[in-house]
């Protein structure tokens, strides 16, 4: 740990600005989780406060930079991933956090999102997924469920939603994790893991919009017991066990996942899959991100965490390698290189 890294607290990362999200909005919990994660990241990775940057696009989630006391850039709709990519390439020493929503990252910014994931540039990208457009007051989003009735779909949507995790894996992503806004400790943990991961980390937080899409996740989050029964928190190296009695698990049946009960039909704990987040093969990770009710629990925690080369490292190492062995060191040398002739 470098000498200039203080023991920061969450307070060091909160700004003096008045937070203007609606009362009861899930974003408050995410802000708390991030403000708690940043001091830990600073300590663990030896990153001083001034190297933290929060970048956003447009939407409720994108007001985030004003509420944290770091360097901040509030961009334009959908473009946060591109803006953050330029920052990281310009200065790879920065710890860059992108906050975005399902509209920002999955709709207008979908192209930047998949390409940032594909490049595996070292950013931490949080998607506050509330399955609705909040700041424009209640239109459906690309993650709204099929048939969702909203202001712009008064008779229900007629299109399937994106699943952000599936998109990450489809774009050859290396890190994907999922949390709930109310699980502040889990969100904090995932933010720390995402920051520790070298490369693009996508963290989806299922976030309740109290005004335009209230209780949309209630069917698996409303009570603690429901959460135990209807979600599973995955941990690398541990068996995929869940349920209030800790007796349900996931196993592979042929090429499909299935939910089984330990102690029934001869199933023992040994039959339950062990989560391997580090497996480069994404097949099981993809099945995990796709799980949903009523038959399956919703997967939370770190679903995929695979190390690979990162874009920012390669950009810098390519420049360094070429500079080691080059003939041209200044503009004057450049201008005089190649074919030139003298007029006497």
């Amino acid at each position: 740990m470098a000498d200039n890294i203080k023991n920061y607290t969450a307070q060091d990362f909160k700004s003096d600005q008045e937070v203007k999200w609606c009362p009861g909005c899930g974003d408050y919990a995410i802000l708390n989780a991030v403000a708690k994660a940043m001091p830990e990241v600073a300590k663990t990775a030896g990153i001083p406060h001034e190297r933290f940057v929060v970048v956003s696009g447009i939407g409720c989630s994108s007001r985030f930079p004003y509420y944290v006391n770091t360097y901040g850039f509030h961009g334009i709709h959908g473009r946060a991933a591109a803006i953050a990519t330029g920052m990281k390439v310009a200065n790879p020493e920065l710890s860059i956090w992108v906050t975005s929503g399902d509209g920002d990252s999955m709709a207008i910014g979908g192209n930047h999102f998949i390409h940032a994931v594909r490049r595996n540039i070292d950013l931490n990208l949080l998607i506050f997924n509330n399955q609705i457009y909040g700041l424009t007051k209640g239109q459906y989003s690309p993650t709204s469920e099929f048939g969702k009735v909203t202001k712009t779909s008064p008779f229900g949507t007629v299109e399937y939603p994106f699943r952000p995790g599936e998109l990450v894996i489809g774009a050859r992503g290396k890190f994907f994790a999922r949390s709930l806004d109310i699980e502040v400790a889990l969100t904090q943990q995932l933010c720390e893991a995402g920051a520790a991961h070298k490369g693009m980390s996508v963290i989806e937080v299922l976030q309740n919009c109290v005004i335009f899409n209230d209780k949309t996740f209630a069917k698996f989050t409303a009570t603690k017991e429901l959460r135990q029964e209807k979600t599973i928190i995955l941990r690398h190296g541990e068996r995929m066990i869940f349920g209030k009695d800790n007796n349900k698990g996931l196993r592979l049946n042929g090429f499909e996942l299935e939910v089984v009960t330990i102690g029934e039909n001869g199933i023992t704990e040994d039959d339950i899959l062990v989560h391997d987040a580090h497996n480069p093969n994404p097949s099981i990770h993809r099945m995990l991100v796709d799980m949903e009710g009523p038959d399956f629990p919703v997967a939370l925690g770190i679903i995929r965490d695979v190390q690979d080369i990162t874009y920012d490292d390669k950009v810098c190492s390519q420049v360094a390698d070429i500079q080691c062995n080059c003939q041209i060191h200044s503009v004057d040398e450049l201008l005089n290189s190649g074919n030139t002739w003298e007029v006497k």
Binding site: S15, Q17, P48, H49, E50, R51, V53, V55, S56, I58, P65, Y66, N69, T70, Y71, G72, F73, H74, G75, I76, R79, A82, I83, A84, T85, G86, M87, K88, V89, A90, N91, E93, L94, N111, H112, H115, V315, Q318, V319, I322, Q323, C326, Q327, I328, H329, S330, V331, D332, L334, L335, N336, G338, N339, T340, W341, E342, V343, K344
Partner: protein
């Protein structure tokens, strides 16, 4: 050997044309380089189709490259050609309109069979009579068969051998204009020797064979000498506009000490800037080929916030896509240069042709009150200077600059006296590493030029937030206050207007007062200058006022205009700069001369227009 007469000429225009796969761009470039080495003044212009390999032998697939060389500085690639190389009947058909009366036409006689002539769209079997050029100086050289024969001993397949046809043709032209082969041979060795020595050998053999063929067969009644131009002493290189823009940015980066970042998406005719910058990792340049035009500019904005000198390069359609992000750069008051290499529009338009029709879009094509500094380069080599100046202005004044180039400048090349970086001014961005009073950093606190401070992430104690929402005039927190918005809008405009104090006064070529003032801007300078200089030599009272600084305009423009009886604004659009001048100078009448054909002006048509205005 050569028994023909040597005739001395002042200047010559030669146009190489053939299928887009015939290698005419390279042939033209090598001819131009060899002439530059011989000390001639040069100006070149490639004229090629948007398709990479359109159907062979059709007019749509014809690619051309024109070289104007002579014993003085050449300001244009020439209107009409003295010599046309037409590798097939389609090339002849496409380029016949560019022939001077009694021009020399070198054809590959092997390709003028009945089938090819018909394929090129001729209705008779005699294309020359059909075009009315049968009395021109037609040199039917059997280029295909002679190339095959010359390479009989070379160990290559027939297809590879036939690729050397262009070198045979170049050899013929070198003989005609008494050029040395040495420079081209060196180029061939450098290009092919390592990869495939047999290919290098074949190309050199074909080149020599072409030269000898022309000399031995007395193909030409005369050969020509063009004396070296009386150019200022010094070391020269050939440079095109795109390369010059790229290098100008690297120069601004070196002078400012800010690393160069280019975020771009390939688009004709701007891609070469990104390609040139991508080569320059030796000078620490970072380039990103982004996923789209929007990401190109947004990565650049991010890099600028992080403290790099950031640029993004594009052409018309791409500029449209970047509009919203340009507004973001304006409101965040970050340095950024956007290059627009204009092409024919609207929409996809004419991707490979030149035009100046993006001027008003560049000035105003954004939502809100959103002023930018707009400057325009005017020759292939001065693209270097204006790219450098764009970098200086954007970093010192903390506001984006839009640099206009066009397809003609981008692809055209000319000899350039290599400058020394010690002759270029320093660039001093207002970088902030600590505040005067030790308090928090105020992102919108301004210096005497209204530029705000540039504090990079990573600097302790300077943490701040900026973004696309209107900001408090000092602190950078969001403000919806009506008076604050008025103040910020006014300040951003005043900051751009104040740049007028930092740009040179407008100059006039010719007399300061007179009958006719020709006004132009950007890439038309060479043609306007040639027309005006020729007319002045003929005793006509005409002057040229050519603009590089568009927004803000230089402060003395009104004083220039008032001294002329007539003012004619010439541009390759329907009158955009004329309208802009009318907005600023309602007291003058602005006549117009406009052309929107995807082609540069010709000196001939300019002179006709000016003579008619002089009455």
């Amino acid at each position: 050997m050569d028994q023909s007469n040597k005739v001395e000429l002042e200047d010559v225009v030669i146009r190489f044309s053939g299928d887009s796969g015939d290698g005419m761009q390279l042939t033209g470039t090598l001819f131009s380089d060899a002439s530059a080495f011989s000390g001639n003044g040069i100006s070149t212009f490639p004229d090629y189709p948007a398709e990479i390999r359109a159907p062979q032998g059709t007019v749509a697939g014809v690619s051309g490259f024109q070289v104007h060389f002579g014993s003085s500085k050449m300001n244009t690639p020439g209107d009409y050609c003295d010599v046309l190389v037409a590798m097939n009947p389609a090339a002849l058909k496409a380029n016949a309109c560019w022939l001077k009366k009694s021009a020399t036409i070198i054809i590959d006689a092997d390709t003028y069979d009945e089938k090819s002539v018909a394929h090129a769209g001729f209705s008779t079997s005699d294309p020359f009579t059909e075009l009315g050029i049968q009395d021109y100086n037609i040199i039917p050289a059997p280029i295909t068969s002679m190339t095959k024969e010359a390479l009989a001993e070379v160990d290559l397949d027939l297809k590879s051998k036939l690729k050397c046809k262009n070198m045979f043709t170049l050899g013929i032209c070198f003989c005609l204009f008494s050029r040395p082969l040495e420079h081209t041979e060196k180029y061939i060795d450098a290009k092919f020797m390592k990869k495939n020595p047999e290919v290098a050998k074949a190309n050199k053999l074909a080149l020599k064979a072409g030269f000898n063929y022309a000399a031995n067969t007395h193909a030409f009644a005369n050969t020509y000498e063009i004396a070296p131009a009386d150019l200022p002493k010094g070391r020269y290189r050939s440079i095109n506009g795109n390369q010059a823009v790229a290098w100008g940015f690297i120069a601004a980066s070196e002078k400012s000490g800010r690393p160069l970042f280019c975020g771009s998406y390939p688009i004709t005719p701007a891609s070469v800037i990104l390609e040139e910058l991508a080569k320059r990792k030796d000078l620490g340049v970072k380039t990103m080929q982004a996923e789209d035009e929007i990401a190109g500019i947004c990565t650049a904005i991010g890099a600028s916030y992080a403290g790099n000198f950031a640029v993004t390069t594009t052409s018309g359609p791409g500029l449209s896509l970047k509009s919203e992000a340009m507004g973001l750069a304006v409101i965040t008051e970050l340095p950024l240069v956007i290059v627009n290499v204009q092409r024919g529009g609207p929409s996809t338009g004419l991707p490979t042709k030149t035009e100046q029709a993006d001027l008003l879009q560049s000035l105003w094509g954004r939502n809100g009150e959103c002023p930018l500094i707009v400057i325009a380069a005017s020759t292939p080599s001065d693209c270097f200077d204006y790219a450098f100046i764009a970098g200086k202005l954007t970093m010192e004044h903390m506001t984006p600059v839009l640099l206009l180039s066009d397809g003609y400048l981008a692809n055209g090349s000319e000899p350039w006296k290599i400058p020394s970086m010690k002759d270029y001014p320093a660039i001093n961005p207002p970088i902030v590493t600590k505040t005067e009073d030790g308090g928090p950093f105020m992102p919108y606190k301004r210096n005497e030029n209204l530029a705000r401070g540039w504090a990079f992430p990573g600097t302790p104690g300077m943490q701040h937030r900026i973004g696309g929402l209107e900001k408090d005039a000092l602190k950078g927190s969001v403000s919806h206050n009506p008076q604050n918005h008025q103040k910020m809008v006014d300040t951003r405009a005043a900051k751009v207007a104040k740049v007028q104090e930092f740009i040179p006064e407008q100059t006039v070529i010719g007399d300061d007062k007179g009958d006719l003032l020709v006004v132009g801007w950007g890439g038309t300078k060479g043609h306007l200058l040639t027309a005006v200089n020729t007319m002045r030599a003929e005793g006509k009272n005409v002057s040229l006022c050519h603009f590089n600084y568009i927004n803000p305009l230089p402060k003395n423009v009104g004083d220039i205009f008032k001294n002329f009886k007539k003012i004619v604004v010439c541009e390759l659009n329907s009158g955009q700069f004329a309208d802009y001048l009318r907005m600023h100078f309602q007291e003058f009448e602005f006549l117009q001369f406009n052309k929107v054909q995807g082609q540069p002006f010709t000196v001939v048509e300019l002179k006709d227009k000016f003579n008619s205005l002089l009455g």
